[in-house]
Symmetry: C2
Subunit: 298 residues, 2 copies
């Protein structure tokens, strides 16, 4: 049981964490801060936080657990703003989709105090951001990746593991570089491709007609192109090398299929598409087992 949770960035991720912690009975009080005072106020009105803080530092003051849920490019300035209250024994976590850059930011902003910061990436979200879409069940049944460093306080890593597990998530540990490479492949690149694809349609003279003819396949394929621009701008920039490397691999796979189409080689095209179709049919969303110790109350 924590006494006070400080949430910096009361959006979908931060707000849902606050609601989940309350629902699980893991925290007495939630204090929140967002850059925009109207967001902080909205979070308070919605009951997502109990108290609105006037600064990030004030949201940390008196808290024994702090979640930083800001776009990754704002991580460093946020940590700098609170560094004087980053003390041993308080658990600091983030929710950023990239980890190498966040760890570098933490090192620069916190120096030795970075040992209190446990880098986290919950694989959860929705297309609709904002505290109004926050929900207590966002992290239930999802995976949360921790990328602790050799200098990270192991007791805090354990505490972070316990917290996410208690919220119904499965915790995995990865090296930051492996994390960033994996998510460039399965998350960042698809977002980049969906953005580029929707743009390529939207800028054609017949775009309106085309969009009026699109079906369910188009809908699902482009869903992630509605992602929050500031979030994805930051992710693409923070994980630039991995994303561009994955894009090269994609282009090469596309080249190969297009060459078969160009050549009109039906047999080879069939042979190329078949294992892909089978592979995707056999794949399903990982649904982590409910870890022991998770509260069973829904």
């Amino acid at each position: 049981m924590f006494q006070q949770l400080g949430v910096i960035g009361c959006g979908l991720m931060g707000g849902s964490f606050a609601l989940a912690m309350k629902k699980a009975g893991l925290v007495r009080r939630v204090i929140g801060y967002s850059k925009s005072p109207s967001t902080t106020e909205q979070a308070r009105r919605l009951g997502v936080i109990d108290v609105a803080a006037e600064s990030a530092l004030l949201a940390v003051s008196g808290s024994d657990i702090v979640l930083i849920a800001v776009p990754v490019s704002a991580t460093e300035s946020t940590l700098k703003a609170i560094r004087h209250l980053v003390n041993p024994g308080v658990l600091f976590m983030d929710v950023g989709s990239t980890k190498c850059d966040v760890i570098e930011s933490a090192r620069r902003a916190l120096g030795e105090r970075a040992s209190s910061f446990v880098p986290c990436h919950p694989i959860a979200g929705k297309e609709s951001g904002g505290v109004q879409h926050a929900e207590a069940t966002l992290y239930e049944g999802r995976q949360v990746i921790l990328t602790p460093q050799p200098f990270t306080n192991p007791q805090l890593v354990q505490r972070a593991t316990d917290v996410w597990s208690a919220l119904g998530a499965t915790v995995l540990k990865m090296r930051p570089h492996n994390h960033d490479a994996a998510f460039a492949a399965v998350s960042h690149l698809p977002h980049l491709l969906a953005f580029a694809f929707f743009q390529a349609i939207a800028e054609q003279p017949a775009a309106r007609d085309y969009l009026s003819l699109a079906g369910p396949g188009f809908r699902d394929f482009t869903r992630i192109a509605a992602g929050e621009p500031a979030v994805w701008r930051d992710i693409f920039l923070a994980n630039k090398h991995e994303v561009l490397a994955q894009s090269k691999r994609f282009r090469s796979a596309l080249d190969q299929i297009e060459a078969l189409i160009e050549a009109g080689d039906a047999a080879a095209l069939d042979a190329a598409l078949r294992p892909i179709s089978e592979g995707r049919s056999a794949w399903s969303l990982p649904t982590p087992a409910v870890p022991p110790g998770r509260p069973t109350a829904k």
Copy 2:
């Protein structure tokens, strides 16, 4: 009311059409043929068709409405096999996702008798093909594109319009070339990209790990990569020029976004992503109004 529907190709599309026609009370009897005798037999056992025909020609004999629901590359040979029974007054339709090639096939196979053939493309489907997934409601609330030619019998075009409308679909007429260009953009290209993307992931040494970390965005983005290889092979080949032209546009949009990432230009990247995100957020699946005259019984 039709006396007999002949279905050539008793898969998802043909089987669903048979079920829908029966449910709407528009046909007395359904006779079906598939290249594979076990499929025809399965369709009969499931009650999708009433009688199993031993050839395509026998499925046409005595029918006053015929649906050809085979992969587009098999359209020409199918029409050749039935050409002696393609008589005026009988409505022949297909369900192919490409139309220029189907019309050329019909001309070659049928000559003057091509006037009885009304090219159709219902914008409906599911990832799981096969007659076992056929359902009477597949075409309800969906769009069906007709691409009649100057030589197509206008009475049959009207009859085709009435049939699809009675099944709860909205009928649009388009020129075949416009159809093929539009669907290259909103359907064929996304399938090609999803196939290439899944392949690019699957061929990496860490593919297994990556796939175990993928989330809901990946799931939706790659759903169409599970499409039927034979169907998509045919579509890509039949609509090759349009598909490759759309792919070029996509690559150019991708190049532009990647250049901003490469340059680390956060402001320009934000400015590029924002209208895409807003455009996609504002888009939703076209849900055609229920046309008048549609049976209200569910």
